[in-house]
């Protein structure tokens, strides 16, 4: 919160609605085609707000003993899953917040869950194992034991799941139960994203670097020089640019032509504290970034990684997650103080001039 003063939304971000939840808001997402905005707080509170107005539709408390850690909304938006420190995964329907299923993994935290792109599978990380459940909640597949706790997962397609842990990224064919590829690198991987075509794997590492591999050519590279650890990474929908955190600036690597090896990344500088979340819009090269200082900016990027700000707003506290509305007409941010803010995203027109005509 320090180092920045509150300011009103600027550029393409316009006042929308804001509200408050009981504790540190940790997860959020749009459900039911953007009609509903879901928020979870660390204490295990779950909330559904009307997407347009911010009116509270329903709320449930203490859904995970010890605390909530993760949420994944089903691609159809009608159901979603939550996971927590109690070692449980709960499945809910979005409309009324009814629990439809509960999976008990055991004594340990469940920090990562993710629906497959076709919505048939739910991948769940439990300690050194990854489980895949089908939409009925039946265990469909279980990974071998990883050498250490799995720190990130991502689906490269609906049958193939990538897992990251200390020293390796593994691609599992969860339908035929086999390992498609194993990429090894001695480093503690703290985050992972895949390019939309699944060819590029990018991982942030504890030692302040980003490592990536091209699966098709077996090439890999390491981008070093970050002042902090790049816990937040995002690919745009075309896989042209990779936005990374790790400092108070957004570092954008371009994969066009022969890049990013040997190229200078674009650097987006407006935040005053380290980046705490990144999200690309569903279409186009619009990036939203949130930081520990509570600032949120939207940027228009070029294919070479350079970019310009198109909107800015202040959310009040460390921005824990940001989410674009499914049709990119709004941007939502949740923060460490439980603050929820949704801005409309549109071109700022000078309506006053038209009134005189």
């Amino acid at each position: 919160m320090s180092g920045i003063e509150a300011f009103s939304p600027k550029g393409m971000l316009h006042e929308g609605w804001s509200t408050q939840v009981d504790d540190y808001a940790i997860v959020c997402g749009w459900a039911l085609e953007g009609k509903t905005f879901l928020v979870g707080d660390v204490a295990g509170g779950l909330y559904a707000f009307e997407g347009k107005s911010g009116k509270l539709i329903w709320q449930i408390k203490d859904i995970h003993k010890g605390g909530l850690l993760a949420m994944s909304i089903h691609p159809n938006g009608k159901t979603f899953a939550t996971a927590g420190q109690d070692g449980h995964v709960n499945i809910w329907e979005s409309q009324e917040g009814t629990a439809t299923n509960a999976l008990e993994l055991g004594k340990g935290w469940v920090e990562h869950i993710k629906w497959s792109p076709d919505g048939k599978f739910l991948a769940v990380v439990f300690t050194k194992y990854v489980y895949v459940f089908d939409d009925k909640g039946q265990e469909h597949w279980r990974s071998e034991e990883h050498p250490s706790t799995v720190s990130a997962i991502a689906w490269s397609n609906s049958n193939e799941l990538a897992t990251a842990c200390y020293g390796q990224v593994t691609f599992f064919d969860v339908v035929n139960d086999k390992i498609n590829q194993k990429l090894e690198w001695r480093g503690s991987l703290v985050s992972m994203v895949l390019s939309p075509d699944g060819d590029i794997v990018a991982c942030g590492s504890q030692d302040n670097s980003v490592h990536f591999w091209r699966r098709s050519t077996d090439e890999d590279s390491e981008m070093t020089g970050y002042p902090g650890k790049p816990s937040h990474l995002a690919f745009d929908q075309t896989g042209t640019v990779l936005a990374t955190g790790g400092s108070d600036r957004v570092t954008v690597w371009s994969f066009q032509d022969d890049g990013p090896e040997g190229t200078v990344p674009g650097e987006l500088m407006l935040h005053t504290e380290p980046i705490s979340c990144l999200a690309f819009s569903h279409s186009g090269m619009l990036l939203a970034s949130g930081a520990r200082d509570g600032s949120v900016f939207s940027w228009f990027l070029q294919a070479n990684g350079q970019g310009d700000p198109v909107g800015g707003a202040f959310s009040g506290d460390l921005v824990s997650q940001i989410a674009w509305h499914p049709d990119d007409t709004a941007l939502a941010a949740i923060n460490a103080n439980g603050g929820i803010t949704v801005w409309n995203f549109k071109v700022r027109t000078k309506t006053s001039l038209q009134e005189f005509e």
Binding site: S2, V42, G187, S188
Partner: protein, 460 residues
Amino acid sequence: MSIKEKVPVTILTGFLGSGKTTLLNRILSEEHGKKIAVIENEYGEVGIDQGLVINADEEVFEMSNGCICCTVRGDLIRVLGNLMKRRDKFDYVLVETTGLADPGPVAQTFFMDDEIREEFSLDGIVTLVDAAHIDQQLGRSDESSEQVAFADVLVLNKTDLVSDESLDNLESRLRDMNRMARVIRSKQADVSIDTVLNLSAFDLDQVLQRRPTFLEPEYPFEWTGVFSLEKGRYELTLEEGPDPTMSLVLLLNQGKDETSLNSGAESCVRLYAEQEQLMNPGDMVPVGKHVSLQLQSEGTKSFFIDVDKARDIGLFTQHTAEEFNMKLTKVNTPSTDEIDNNQNISTISPIAERVWVAEHEHDDEVGSIAIEREGDVDPEKLNRWLSRLLSEKGVDIFRTKGFISYAGESKRIVFQGVHMLFTAQPDKEWGNEPRRNQLVFIGRNLDAAEMSREFDKCLV
């Protein structure tokens, strides 16, 4: 927004069976008003009574610069990262390590990761020692001596199973290895909680208040004799002793009161750090020089001291006078050509005598080195030396603690280090306190003389 209070963290180490779980349960039941998170690495022999228990998988990793001093615990970073988000934050975090773990990476995690450093402060490292079995363990594994070396508090547990005599021996062995730690004896880990929690062991001021002598220096000499002498020549005779050589420093105008003895000792420490000058029987002992008396030959060996006028002199010797039956006598013939041993010999008794805490010959590879000097140091020189020392020997230096007086700085500088990582921060004002430097290193196979010499070069 108020200043963020950091959550204190205590690291609990010790071999399996040393009583860690018993102590954990004790802490949780006595501190039941507080929210305590326990991060465990192994299932204890007995269950934990209450509190939040999180299992972590002891994922130790090196930073990719390949330096083993930069290993940290990835699992801890993740677990603590999530814990600190709650609004009803934890009052305390206990991290239990497995019996075979090196506490280094756990401690380093609190220095290396920015986000963790912002929210948590390492309060102390508590090592439980099974009094009945530690002797074998110390000989067998590096881990157990590392756990002793890292400790701020050593809980000597299961004392009921061992005789008092072997407890005393064990305690002095542990103290030799780690002179910084406080040793507490217990039967069933029944120690009072305030001896293990909220120690601010990484806050040196409190350490000093509690144990003002923790940095009491060990001198490289065991004995001082002050002699009141007339002008003339004197003969120093030595018989067979425990060593074939003995170091000695001769000081003029040595006072016999406590303050003068201490200040004489202080300057002798510096002199002892210098290269010694070999002296053969019959040689003249120079003033203010570190000399090594060569005592290999059989029978009585004689060295000579010339005194220009009546004054008190001090002899600072590596061993006690008794061990070599060392005697000082006046040579009556002014001629130096011939010495007649039978003429009028009367042994001169010292007007003051002092036996110092001497540096021990350590059997264990792990030991402590204390450096204590008056005066100021040159910050740049010190920094250069410490950086070099820690980059060369960082693997073997487990802990570093101390105060430094920087020339031109009105505040005391506090040093803290775990392996290669060290911080130097200005602390309170010196005020009228005499400027001095106190540093303790705990490590394996450290060369005390070399380190003292190097430190002395940093003095202004």
